[in-house]
């Protein structure tokens, strides 16, 4: 079992408060990713869960038992560190055995567990080498192996892929996902890379400045970001965020006007909206469907193209809307777009996101 519950967690260093009232419920077997920009408190939160640091207020429960004051060793968790933190003076085998020896496990069982973990992670061949003689990817496996042999209630992973090169990162990511499928153990994974979060997570926690902005399944965050921060953070390339004004309110939709001649009617809960309100409209680059000079009526927008990146299957168009606002469009195929020309983009108005003046999402009507 590995159900972890955080209730009203605060953490302050002297007067500096880095975590504000964190409430989080992680299910057994779940792959939970904590994501956010650097300094948002995600690593601090992981250290609190690990027991390497104590919360200033609030409680941490593992499987219903309050472990807030329990030491790191007694919590039965295993951690993989960003720098791997392998003991440089011990062989790989000793690294794996260290935690088990400290628990006075019989030698035969230690051997058995190491053999099993080494086979699973394909590190059998270099069990007798020192960490200094291993490549980055191999060290990464050993670091994970050191967690696996412990047979923990949950794995805590602190940016484990950030020291790997791009190619290795992708393959290791897939291996981690496979490992989670096989072990079915709770994993809490900290990263600042939203792609890792999207690809690995069962659920994602988006954090900013010590607060949780949104918790949800990856596609829920992508399709319905709760606020401007999540909208801008999840999804690559970033969502275009344009300020707009409401010009009319119908029963369950509003019509708004924005820069570049944008006019759109968006389905929205109109309870809190009235004509003249400032809002922000979000358009993902992939939801700009085409360049269409003949577009008329609603759902189009004029912008001057500054850069065209033709990638083959899709074309990335950088543009600026009158007034200097940047706009990014990812168009399918290889449409003709010339730089330094003003063109008209057609939008998919069903995929528009509406945020109120406070930056909170306005639900669909």
């Amino acid at each position: 079992m590995g159900r972890i519950t955080l209730t009203n967690i605060d953490r302050a260093y002297n007067k500096l408060k880095v975590l504000h009232d964190i409430n989080l419920d992680i299910e057994d077997g779940e792959f939970m990713v904590l994501v956010g920009p650097s300094g948002c408190g995600k690593s601090t939160l992981l250290r609190l869960i690990a027991g390497l640091d104590k919360p200033s207020a609030g409680s941490i429960e593992i499987d219903g038992t309050d472990v807030t004051t329990v030491t790191a060793a007694e919590r039965g968790l295993a951690m993989v560190f960003q720098s791997y933190a392998l003991y440089p003076h011990m062989s790989v085998r000793k690294n794996l055995a260290f935690g088990l020896e400290n628990q006075h496990m019989p030698k035969a069982e230690i051997e058995e567990r190491i053999r099993e973990a080494a086979r699973m992670l394909e590190i059998t061949d270099y069990l007798d080498r020192r960490p200094g003689q291993l490549s980055g990817g191999q060290k990464q496996r050993v670091a994970i192996g050191r967690a696996v042999v412990r047979n923990p209630t949950a794995f805590l992973l602190d940016e484990p892929l950030s020291n790997l090169d791009a190619e290795l990162r992708i393959s290791t990511r897939a291996e981690l996902a496979a490992l989670h499928n096989r072990l079915k153990t709770t994993m809490i994974y900290v990263t600042h890379d939203q792609v890792e979060a999207m690809t690995l997570a069962d659920r994602i926690v988006v954090m900013r400045a010590g607060r949780i902005e949104q918790i949800g399944r990856p596609l829920d965050l992508y399709n319905a970001p709760a606020n401007l921060f999540v909208a801008g953070f999840i999804g690559a390339p970033r969502m275009n965020l344009l300020s707009a004004k409401i010009v009319s309110v119908q029963g369950s939709s509003v019509t708004l006007e924005g820069p570049g001649g944008l006019t759109a009617t968006v389905s929205a809960d109109t309870a809190s909206l009235k004509v003249g309100d400032d809002v922000t409209v979000g358009i993902r680059p992939h939801d700009i469907t085409s360049i269409d000079a003949a577009a008329s009526g609603e759902d189009h927008l004029d912008a001057e193209v500054t850069l065209v990146e033709a990638l083959g299957p899709e074309t990335v168009v950088h543009a600026t809307i009158a007034g200097g606002l940047p706009l990014l469009a990812v168009l399918a195929g290889q449409p003709v777009a010339e730089e330094a020309r003003t063109v008209r983009f057609r939008l998919n108005h069903e995929k528009l996101h509406l945020f109120d003046a406070n930056g909170e999402r306005v639900a669909a009507g």
Partner: protein, 350 residues
Amino acid sequence: MSRVLAFLTRRRGGKGWHWTDIVTWAWLVGGLIVMFGPALWLVFSSFKTPAALAEFPPTLLPVATQTVMVEGYDKPLELYRATTDDGETRTLAQIRRVGIIAQMVDPRDPGTVYKININDRVPVRSVDFATENYVEPMEKNDFTLYLRNSVFVTAIATIITLLTNSMAAFALSKYSFRGRDAVMLLIVATLMVPLPVLLVPLYSVVSTVGLFDTLWGVILPTVATPTGVFLLRQYMLTIPDELIDAARMDHASEWQIYWRIILPLAAPALAVLAIFSVVWRWNDFLWPLVVLSSKENYTLQVGLNTYAGELNVQWHFILAMTVVTMIPVVLVFTFLQRYITSGIAGSGLK
């Protein structure tokens, strides 16, 4: 071998001599003489007899006038090349000297006595190492005992120094507690207090706890060194905290973290401190001199002092035993110098 020679004799000027070659060679040879000359002088002098030491002008190599046993005389006689009245040059043994006239005999013909002006004879001399300078103090004067005391003091003090200093350094580098910086500052500040200032209070402490005239009285006051704590702490700061976090997750107790993680990783710094400690304790003179009063407790350095009396200084013994006391330090420097340089570079100490 030829490549080594080619390397050593390589010149900037190629076949000729560039002026920098000359300056370099002059500088290096001059440096060698300045640095190594005194040590060489000490070693050669330690093999001289007291008479040779007193000689002026001095010789570099230990030389002694040759002697020979001549029939009819109890003591060995000194040999001279002498010019006799008839203008012949022969090797003669001197029986006695009266004024400027020396009475001499031919060792092969002891019957005839020659009378020779002392200006007409030159002593027959050859290089002769007076090994008795070494053997005598070792056998007759307790130098082996002093040696044993010195080894004991050096070894035990170094072990305790490493243990206590590394513990202090561990706490000061890896734990955060109130007043940590103040403690560190205090420890480093004691670097500024010289031993002579502490001599009297230390003496009274040592004497009160009953360690006066014991080797432990020499060892214990010296084991906590601010230099050592500072050096080790600076090194331990470079050991990543994540390793300690990892060890904590791995059920390691604080002692295990210290003993199994920190100590092995601090080995280079420990080696440096060990070298320093050995050299310090081995060469220590003032403090052992204050604490030790009975001869059987003397360390080498204090023992050496016994040859310098008020009226009579036995230079030949002092020189020989100085060479003996230098040997371990020289060995330490020879074999561990790369640790010393890395340690100095790493800590900014010397």
